[in-house]
Symmetry: C2
Subunit: 470 residues, 2 copies
């Protein structure tokens, strides 16, 4: 519960109706989309503008009260779980699309705008915002920026970071900085724009963003390639890229994922194959036709058992929608679904998937794997039950080994979900103690009272590194 | 001159032959490509590997000796002028291309490799590294990274920052961090990769870099569109983008620049027109043909007096080579050439060029303007004589007013050259005191002894902001 004086100050800033601290409200914001993490905040505050946020931050800094900025809470790293209490900063009142600038190909938004709403608004003008996290129907742009969200189009188009041109940020001391602008080139000072992107709310509060847009691709085609084995699918991925084709989407689903997704979506996906690649190309008609034909040829040459090109846009959309539903589909199988995002260099995909399967077998846990094969970003997903402590222990051991393997292959512990609480014990595995120390130096310089989303990214203890027996 | 003990320590690290401190050597490294800045270093050190660099940094940190990392010194912000003495760190011995990874579309290099050498090496494999600073024949990748170099392809392909996937960096405390990797997606921790890119050697020493490559475009076409007026050219730029075409290159040259470039290159450029757009499109044959035809139509519709498509690749290359020679051509006219890079949102190009011409007239200085119209990155270039103090004062006043105007239009003081010494008195105009303070906080946290390239980015005093009379 907030101290009475603090509550009074915060209420004076945003008004009584924008301070929520009933038991029911606190429970609603005590967790996010990540299983097994819950902690009660002291209040939920809904600011209406940047000046109110500055005032809130100053009060919190003075009284050393944690601030957890939260969009829709769809993240998968417990990044918005208010671990150390304090206030949850909600952006529901700051959800305006401020400007779509067709001459400079940019859109300026408040952080609370829903990703898909913004995407649809710019598409009406013939413009395109490529980052498409699977949660985009409910996620916010502010959340996407804080997590540097990825999606299915990362290989060809990059991630959120690549589309943030400028930010307005309230720093932990209450000062406002404005970074970048509607500028394709700007080297005036350190790149605070990209420092803020993916900083998971630990360095400041994003209050406005200018995003880069591109012309919408003329057309799009979708295809499925079926393979007997993981190796076949992995080889096809490498071979497509080696032929200098960069598809818009190059998704991988293993057999167990396929079975679950088909059961959920009922669109006639094959369930008796080793692995499937879902491939999309977009762009000018001639190029799409040519690339899709070439990709089909490559997949057949590698030994695909079947290659099917979607005959209509609706058929293509059904396929990608089914893929986007993978998490929901898997979540139906068991009480607890843990979706990870170990990422490796693209050339190591088949090896990584094989290792995941061996590790799952070793620890007798059920793991399906799907993900963005084109950019090496896999989603090994464990269906389990958090009430079964013994099993949960095995799940944790299995994921530790998966992270260790990813790093051995030149990969990372998280490709697009963020570190949050969940991955923090593994961060030093990727960055080394020197890397984590450098981050702490930066964090402490900006936020000496550690008010911004405390308990995230930096772990109390690094987990002991798994040494995989060779 | 280095203290005897320090010299001994440094010699023990790199060997006598890699410590240069004769008068002639010190003079050679006392300046870079920027006019009017010169300061003597105490020694030039040529390390052979990362471990030597760690040892050097530790010695310098202990003895508080400035370190100025230097590639080929082609920067235009006096970024490698050893303002406060100390050592110049030269990477001539660390110029290897370590790996071209065709499966993961990446190249890993040491910082001293010449940009064009690397570009040619990857092109032999059918791969493409788009950033192309005009200095690429002699610049190094390390220098490009420190300055976040741009070039002619920024509009379509982005700048150096967009192609750096991972770095190895020696921090001012001598520790090594490794950021990123051969990974299209990686959100494990703060984005130190992009923090280092463009930090002008003030935060650490880059010792290795992994860069992203893309498939080389199939084909390329070049065209020239001539206009009576600046406004016509500006309108054409906006109209091309509004038609959802993103050319690979969209360069602008005003009449005085054209005259000087033609005098230098002798390739039959028109010299009696108001302005010229040099436009290139690359990609699949059909798309290039279609885009070039459409662009020609747009330019004619806007009122171009002539539109000429290069008939051969050689003719196209001659045109872009002439454009790349603009600085050299202008430099022949007067003893001192000051090339600036005020940048504005693309839609403000015509207004900015008009303002530059008015300001030049007001201060009676000679300024030609050319640059990257597609990304709003202009190069107003003043031909003057640094021995004429009175004129130099007027030049400085004129550029102050140009920077103020760029910021008024939503632009920046530097699009691709960096802040260095030259632009440091103006940095707060773009970032505000809050922004500069945030940067100082970061700099001090990483480099409390201020050994890394001291005197750069942060000015002793911010220049008084020009208030333009309306």
């Amino acid at each position: 519960m907030l101290d009475g004086e603090v509550r009074k100050k915060l209420t004076a800033i945003v008004g009584e109706s924008n301070v929520l601290d009933s038991e029911e409200n606190l429970i609603v914001y005590s967790y996010d989309a990540t299983p097994n993490y819950q902690a009660m905040p002291d209040a939920i505050i809904k600011p209406g503008n940047r000046v109110e946020i500055q005032d809130i931050v100053r009060v919190c800094n003075e009284h050393k009260i944690p601030i957890v900025p939260r969009g829709s809470g769809t993240n998968l790293c417990a990044g918005t779980c208010p671990l150390e209490g304090g206030i949850v900063l909600l952006f529901t009142r700051m959800n305006a699309i401020l400007e779509i600038d067709e001459e400079n190909l940019s859109v300026t938004v408040q952080p609370g705008v829903i990703t898909l709403d913004m995407i649809q608004a710019v598409e009406e003008k013939g413009l395109f915002y490529p980052p498409d996290p699977s949660s985009m129907k409910i996620s916010t742009i502010g959340g996407n920026i804080n997590e540097n969200s990825g999606g299915l189009r990362g290989l060809k188009y990059g991630v959120t970071r690549d589309y943030v041109m400028g930010l307005e940020v309230v720093l932990p001391n209450g000062e406002v900085i404005r970074t970048g602008g509607k500028l394709a080139k700007d080297v005036a000072g350190y790149d605070f724009t990209r420092l803020m992107v993916g900083s998971e709310g630990t360095l400041g509060v994003v209050t406005e963003a200018t995003l880069k847009l591109i012309p919408i691709p003329e057309t799009k085609k979708t295809m499925l390639a079926l393979f007997d084995s993981l190796e076949g699918a992995g080889k096809a991925v490498s071979s497509i890229i080696a032929h200098k084709i960069i598809p818009a989407t190059l998704e991988f689903l293993d057999q167990p994922t396929l079975e679950v997704v088909e059961d959920f979506a009922q669109i006639g996906l094959p369930t008796d194959v080793g692995a499937v690649l879902l491939i999309e190309q977009d762009g000018p008609v001639e190029v799409v036709e040519r690339d899709i034909a070439k990709i089909a040829e490559i997949c057949e040459h590698i030994g695909a058992t079947s290659v099917q090109v979607a005959k209509t846009n609706e058929e293509g959309l059904a396929l990608t929608t089914a893929r986007r539903a993978a998490l929901s589909a898997l979540a139906r199988k068991k009480p607890t679904t843990i979706l990870e995002d170990a990422t490796v260099p693209r050339s190591k995909i088949a090896e990584m998937v094989r290792a995941i399967n061996e590790i799952a077998k070793k620890y007798q846990v059920e793991i399906c794997t799907f993900g963005h094969a084109g950019d090496g970003n896999l989603h090994p997903t464990c269906m389990t039950d958090s009430r079964n402590e013994e099993e949960m222990h095995r799940v944790e051991e299995a994921f530790s080994e998966i992270f260790a393997k990813a790093i051995d292959l030149g990969g990372t512990i998280t490709g697009e979900h963020g570190v949050g609480v969940m991955k923090s014990p593994y961060l030093a595995w990727k960055l080394g103690n020197e890397g984590v120390n450098a981050m702490k130096t930066l964090k402490f310089a900006f936020d000496p009272n550690n008010i911004m989303n405390p308990g995230k990214i930096f772990a109390k203890e690094t987990k002991k590194r798994v040494v995989v027996q060779k």
